[in-house]
Symmetry: C2
Subunit: 501 residues, 2 copies
């Protein structure tokens, strides 16, 4: 068998397994939307059996020998073949380095810990979950040791979410963001003290859910999300899922008393979905047909949610429609609405944070999880470490652990190294915005509803490449530079100037 | 390896594959309810890959050798082990006797023919579909030859839907039903001529779909369909699907101007679903954990739809609620409603037929498909043969082929041998009713809403046995007799007497 033949055989089997695994997307979507609750146990078994098929396949001798033979070919690194082999080798090594029992122990511990975390959060009682968290950190360190790393254990975990990225690189980007953000935040706080705050009273009232649903669907259609290749449903925690290339669904949530919440949830998930729809269909099932990384995924959701969705131009276009759907807004000027959705004020909860302070929340988590994994912070000291650091960064102390280190599910479901991708997504979104602006008059395009031009740019520069490049290289290719936080801070500085200057 | 060990290994692998295949239920449900339309092509590929996994498994050497070794054990025929091996052997032989290409040709032809059938029906033009139907009949004859049969080719196909059943047995049952039905129908027609007809005018009007939805959910809850282990959604063609033991969903349809249509669709599918929910959960994934046969399935849907749902007692209980939901019924006496839903009048369309003439529609199809498969009727003569036979049985000729041989999808999707199971289901439902009445005062139980007693009887006598017995044996076990058409005809005779006597 020639390397080419081995490659072709390998890929055709990989595509078959991917197609099989693609049904997981539907299982998940169904579970979170319409599944009857008693179906949960067998649903869990359906996931397990799919995982077993995938695991058996990738750890088989056949897989290994096809992979090894294919790798003997003379492939260019960023060719379709070269990158497919890169991703498959990565996945194979990953599976082989981590014993099945270790993987199962982590899954089991995460399942138990999620339950205890909910209780700990409800009762504001760290002692309920800290022992298990300590165990999880130690298992994750074992994972890091087994996977291997150059500089520090944390890198091995970070790599799982953002291939190739090192903690020192993150640190550099984040320390710049931190300094600049603190400066900007000071400016904002001074302005707020001078009374520069949006008039929230103007927007108090009820916005019927049925109407919100219609308005959100209207926005999706206007922007170009294809409802014949997707859906909009409702869940407590909004999400996007790509089942197959022409079936990329999103969910959102509606609060009767909070109109922007639903809109920005929808725009965020729509950003993820547009990326999913733009990935090359003919590569479906091959590793290169996937998204490049979590950061790149997040850059797409933040681009539509924040860069486009919170811009004054977006509402110059859509505020008249919003008023048509919700006549109670007739007393509220557009400018007040735009200020409201761009208002900056420190808060304890990450998912309620504004665009500026959001990154501080992430930096805090990055520093803490890095210290825990690298063994510089003992898990039992986490609660105090959190509160101290929070005070240092935000100038206020969380009134409870519920609003402190217990707020996010990530660590309690075993995710370490995930948080940084959120802020890296913001970094990339701002950089994409800057680069796109060289070619498209972005403000004008948004004001005139030429979303096809914007989406077209993203498709040709980002989406269509799938996972043909690591995220850093992809951003370099798309914007001429690797990810730089400068664009994000410039963008935020202009925002602060516009609303609080 | 002992036979016992081979059996245990075989079953654990079978259960794993069944669990994998169980996701097909969700794929189908989703496809017919909420799937975005552009997802169709990849959805088709998802089905194919699942079918391929199943096919590879069952035709593997490993499967065969485990099966053969297990069969050397000393199992009782109707033990869990004995019947599991019976069904697996049957499936194995079936797969081995039919070359993959033949199976694929049939699937492909069916897919093409369905499209042409829709056109032929729309244009009332037999020539559009007859050539393909001829080809399908010849492929189905090839299937019959390969599968083998004792008496006639049709038996081999019938066996696919109703294991062990012979066409001569069906013929015997059907000829009795035919004779008795024609007699009863004459009586009805005479009464109708004397003006014995329900007053349809009383029910003209609009019944808002949202209200119908609520009423149907109310009925489901009252009867005991567990909405935490199922759902009710809406599709053009109602169906029931068992995804896993605690996830058995149904759909129905609502017509704003036809209130009974939705109700009886719901009750019918609920009957199927209650059977699915009653199958032994601990046998899930094993062949014995399935339904016994299509006829038995249909007996359960017809039992709830007709025996219970069309009974006067059911409406003694629920008509007051129906009136509460739809106040326009205040001018219509309950007795008129009960007459309306039990009205007997010959019609051209099977799915619109009443309980009595329905079986004539089936007998007609049985006779024609049997003749085609056995080579006694050329496909090109089907249109005239249909019309002739219809006139002979119903005393009127279809005004179009659309209302004639083109009305049902079955043949055009390659299903031959399926139709008889509908009437056999009616036969069983009436027999179950008769036997149950020996133990439960059925009229009183329905009137008083003691559906748990009725469902309990069905669960203990039918559902919990799964596929541990062939349908004939199961009915024998549950009622003390193999299926006999006498009970159906007695039941229908009483019905005719009550409404037209």
């Amino acid at each position: 068998m020639t390397p080419k033949e081995a490659y072709d055989t390998l890929i055709s089997e990989v595509v078959k397994v991917s197609l099989l695994l693609s049904v997981r997307g539907l299982l998940t979507w169904d579970q979170r939307t319409y599944m009857p609750k008693k179906a949960a146990r067998f649903r869990g078994m359906q996931y397990s059996v799919l995982a077993e098929y995938a695991h058996d396949f990738i750890t088989s001798d056949r897989f290994r020998s096809l992979l090894e033979r294919a790798e003997e070919g003379d492939w260019e690194r960023n060719s379709r073949e070269g990158m497919n082999l890169f991703w498959l080798r990565r996945e194979y090594d990953h599976q082989m380095k981590l014993p099945k029992e270790l993987q199962l122990r982590i899954v089991k511990l995460a399942t138990e810990m999620e339950v205890l975390w909910r209780e700990a959060k409800r009762d504001d009682d760290p002692s309920k979950v800290l022992p298990l968290l300590k165990e999880m950190v130690s298992l994750k360190r074992e994972v890091a040791e087994r996977l291997g790393y150059e500089n520090e254990p944390y890198d091995a975990l970070l790599d799982g979410y953002e291939p190739g990225l090192k903690a020192t690189e993150v640190e550099e980007v984040f320390s710049y963001i931190k300094t600049e953000t603190v400066k900007l935040l000071r400016k904002v706080m001074e302005a707020r003290e001078r009374g520069k705050v949006p008039n929230r009273e103007l927007f108090a009232g009820r916005y019927p859910v049925a109407r919100q649903r219609e308005f959100n669907l209207f926005l999706l259609r206007e922007i170009g999300y294809d409802l014949d290749a997707g859906r909009l449903d409702e869940t407590t925690h909004p999400f996007a899922v790509r089942i197959t290339p022409n079936d990329v669904r999103i969910t959102t949530r509606y609060k009767e008393e909070d109109l922007p919440d639903g809109i920005f949830s929808t725009l965020h998930e729509m950003g993820h979905a547009l990326y999913g729809m733009g990935l090359p269909e003919e590569w479906f099932g091959e590793p290169v047909g996937n998204a490049a990384s979590l950061s790149v995924h997040e850059s797409q959701s933040r681009f539509w949610e924040n860069v486009v969705g919170r811009s004054p131009e977006f509402w110059e276009r859509f505020y008249p429609y919003l008023r048509a759907f919700f006549p109670n807004l007739y007393g509220a000027p557009m400018e007040e609405f735009v200020f409201l959705i761009n208002d900056i004020r420190p808060s304890f909860i990450r998912i309620e944070a504004d665009e500026l302070t959001y990154n501080l929340h992430i930096i805090l988590r990055f520093e803490l999880e890095r210290a825990m994994i690298n063994g510089q912070l003992d898990v039992s000291d986490l609660p105090e470490a959190w509160n101290e650091k929070f005070k240092e960064m935000f100038g206020m102390e969380p009134p409870s652990h519920r609003e402190g280190f217990l707020q996010d599910i990530h660590w309690y479901s075993g995710s370490f190294g995930y948080f940084p991708t959120y802020t890296l997504g913001n970094v990339m979104a701002a950089q994409i915005r800057a680069k796109m602006s060289d070619e498209i008059d972005l403000q004008r395009a948004v004001r005139e509803g030429e979303f096809a031009r914007i989406l077209g740019w993203l498709r040709s520069k980002i989406h269509r490449h799938g996972a043909l490049y690591l995220s850093k290289d992809l951003i370099n290719l798309a914007t001429g530079e690797p990810p730089k936080a400068k664009y994000l801070m410039d963008y935020l500085a202009r925002k602060v100037e516009r609303f609080y200057g």
